[in-house]
Assembly symmetry: C3
Homo-oligomer: 398 residues x 3
């Protein structure tokens, strides 16, 4: 990256991102274009500082509270890396997975864990209609606590994946695309295929495809969502995608034909997910504690999946893409045919060829999270970047 901190600070200074200060990050589509550009600029700057062994630490002490309501390795490590980079210590809140707290309990717990919390990161993607609502309940509780003087600082809520959006993933994916194509200005008209793909597992969250169509449509790209019938995503996110495309001069289309999506695509993102309707049903079954119903649903959904084994990112499918060389993307871990399962989302040879870019893609996430926190914590982020570069504090005294 030949860009300098000074250039990134200049860019940042020209963006209208002031509303991010002391604010939360729930959905990308609630943020302005300038705000998203600010996240990308800060992420690049934090990475550049670290690559030059300059610490971007802005906290001497303070907690970053994490609450993972689903297992997670990479998002957990990304959040912890981001917190650590800025000087915060992660403290897990382990509530138990099944228990969904409400009302008084949420308000109270949110405040009790936040006396010295600067950030709260939540992953809650299991229950349709509930994950994001829970995050907002927590954020409201601590904002109120801050306003009443109960809390000395306002903890920033970062959505680490909910039932609707997965903003840290989609933003990391987007920054990867920007770098791959040499700048956001080169993305106009680029075709991205966000496609369902077969997996022998069940119930993967919708937030990745939703996050992708909700974000990638903002840069003038031609975003095509492909899936078999019955694997529809949330209608409200499709509406967001359509509106984005109209505004950005891009395109948002849907198809039930994977080949159509891959055809001439610059970027392919083939990935399994459960249908919105199935996830809603499951949420109700969980709510009623209907174990037999859950098992029956699982069986039904796996059978439904099995009808679409041909939805795989094979070498043959890749040949359909632009010059046969589309950028293959995945949020990882992928179900690789013959490696992690018999038949899965992607051919082993395709996966192997893209391993390095896939790892790079994942590598943006810690910086995206750190940038979201940074912008919520620095009133003048451009000035802060300049200050950090000038301070020149070594991350690692060599």
């Amino acid at each position: 990256m030949s860009i300098s901190i000074e250039q990134l600070a200049d860019k940042l200074a020209g963006l209208d991102a002031g509303k991010m200060y002391q604010n939360d990050f729930f959905f990308t589509w609630e943020k302005s274009d300038d705000e998203l550009q600010a996240v990308f600029a800060v992420a690049d700057a934090l990475r550049l500082l670290r690559e030059n062994n300059i610490s971007p630490r802005i906290f001497d002490s303070g907690l970053a509270v994490s609450l993972f309501r689903d297992n997670s390795t990479r998002t957990r490590f990304s959040f912890n890396s981001a917190a650590n980079l800025l000087g915060l210590t992660v403290q897990d809140l382990d509530e138990g997975k099944s228990q969904i707290a409400h009302g008084e309990t949420v308000r109270e717990t949110a405040n009790m864990i936040s006396f010295m919390a600067d950030v709260i990161g939540i992953r809650d993607d299991m229950y349709i209609g509930k994950g994001n609502a829970y995050m907002r309940e927590v954020a409201n509780a601590v904002r109120q606590g801050y306003e009443e003087g109960v809390l000395e600082q306002r903890p920033t809520l970062v959505n680490l994946q909910c039932d609707v959006d997965h903003p840290t993933q989609a933003m990391a994916d987007m920054l990867h695309i920007i770098h791959h194509f040499g700048g956001v200005e080169n993305l106009k008209g680029k075709k991205l295929a966000m496609s369902w793909a077969y997996s022998p597992s069940y119930g993967k969250p919708l937030s990745v495809p939703q996050g992708v169509i909700g974000l990638m449509t903002r840069f003038g790209m031609d975003v095509c969502l492909a899936h078999p019938e019955g694997y529809e995503v949330m209608g409200e996110v499709e509406a967001v995608a359509a509106a984005n495309a109209a505004k950005s001069g891009g395109r948002f289309s849907r198809t039930n034909d994977m080949r159509e999506a891959f055809n001439d695509a610059d970027i392919v993102y083939p990935k399994s997910w459960a249908s919105y309707a199935a996830m809603e049903k499951r949420t109700d079954l969980y709510g009623n504690g209907d174990d037999a119903g859950i098992k029956a649903l699982e069986k039904e959904l796996l059978a439904q999946n099995a009808d679409h084994r041909d939805w795989a990112c094979t070498e043959e499918m890749m040949k359909l893409s632009k010059e046969g060389k589309a950028l293959y993307m995945h949020c990882l871990p992928a179900d690789i045919s013959g490696v992690s399962c018999e038949m899965g989302e992607v051919d082993a040879s395709v996966f192997s060829r893209y391993r390095e870019p896939l790892y790079r893609q994942a590598g943006f996430k810690p910086y995206i999270i750190a940038a979201m926190i940074f912008l919520a914590k620095c009133e003048d982020p451009a000035a802060m970047l300049r200050f950090l570069a000038e301070r020149g504090q070594a991350r690692w005294v060599k």
Copy 2:
């Protein structure tokens, strides 16, 4: 708070708290009045520093070991916040809950985890006659290890709740009272009702009421302990409370009538607990691995509780208090009627009215814990406060 660090340092310099240096904190009643005042002064000072974005970090590195033998969210977060504020990293010792180690094992484990430990925080409140004894065993082991040169530093033990006292809770409660009434000098004659209250759960620890009567009687207050027959607390703590009251010019009384306690009270603290006798019985049953006996006891105790559903902090009861406006206190979480249970310790309307002060009350705990550590680690705490204020290191570079 209009008081300055300079004033707090001056106050601290006038107190005889030298024995707290390199020492532990087990029971409030083992500490002199000056020592308790020192904890309050340091807690206020640490908060004031942090509110002014000045870091009170006194450790560049070092561990704070935590051992929670019972589930805990708020005490865990308070301990971790306190450690983080001073620059220590928390390392949990997860021994498993059921296993109570003795003798050689305790001595060895205590030393093995303490090579770089500056603090050890223990919560062990489940077993009557054992929790505090275990803490002292650990503290003795590491003191000996330090004296023999096995450990380079002497880890300070902080009692995060035992079978007898809950000093970090009681001290936080007291600091809340002091702030609420505008100073410790305004507490003479104030009536505090520490009352049992009905809860549909079973076996809540005695250490909260014991901690409260063992501490609040030292400030000239009129402390009234109320509970149904059969819910007696430890006799030795009642004796402490009586002696405290005699010495401080206050009063300690007991009653089996909740109304008598609430009558004209300035402060009410209605809360469920198990009786000492029942907890002793349970400890023996656990010791013998008598699961059937434990179940039978639980059933018996819940039935016994159910006889006292009228012991609730209702609006009607609140009207009995001083001008109907007593300060309502609780260590949280409370069993709120119609919210967290059908019938519980407190009416929802009472709880809601006091939510903000309740959250404030809880907010003192991290600072109380940090103050206990600070006083054990700074030979001249007044000078250290002045040094920190002058150093002016930003906690959060804004």
Copy 3:
């Protein structure tokens, strides 16, 4: 310790340890004599700095990832202490114990957790032929990730105990011996008895005796490995020990007679372990998920153990040692007769007499681990030691 940082830095400057920079630590026998001496010198220096309240912190931020595939208290605390001392924050990777990942998954996970990881510490001692192989797979994956630019820094792998070696334990043991005998130059001809001892438990790892004979034979000592028939260790490590002894002018012998080993010994290290053959069998049974087979094997091995109850470090056995005063060593926790079990590895009176040196022995481990990390992270460790001493940053502002 009357030696100064300056002297240790001088010593270090004279050693050829440059290959340790940006490298891993798997087996002691892969390291040169100079490299081992460098670890000892740095461990002593880090301790000396800390004892003088000078922080050897070389990281402003960064992660130390730990992966424990077996329960651990003391190694976990040692690793966390070492990381903390140098300024790193530990992040546990909790994969579940039973699941042994391979190939693509290992490569991917290793990179996903390492975007900001400076160190990875792994304990994987359960499965013969697999633990060390897994560590090397992880190390290769992240080295490749670093070379490809996926990772900005190269995480150093530290073997926290595998199926073959336990280098942090053996090195800590050795540093204890060096200090006890007043320097490595006094060890020529000293006799060390690494002896099997009876324990009522089953399946203790082989890596301790293997680590000890693989390391202690390098200093001209007379190392005698004693065990009943059927408790053989890995042949390849015995070969290493024999070659070491030949090269160092020492001796490596084996016997099935504990008395022969203890006879005139300067150091005795009596400890239970499972036989290599039994561990291999168990690994296969685990691999096949053969629970019945595992239970049968356990029964068989306990019965086999019970045939050798006379292999205990009794007072009578101790009398055989040099002037009856050999240095008794153990990696802890020991099975103490009449204390932690009816009959075990050592008499209570012997253990008690050596408690203080045993604790000291354990106390070297955090510094050994920190030294391994330090040497992998500092291109000129001697200069860095001088820099840290001169910087004089207080670990604890008193």
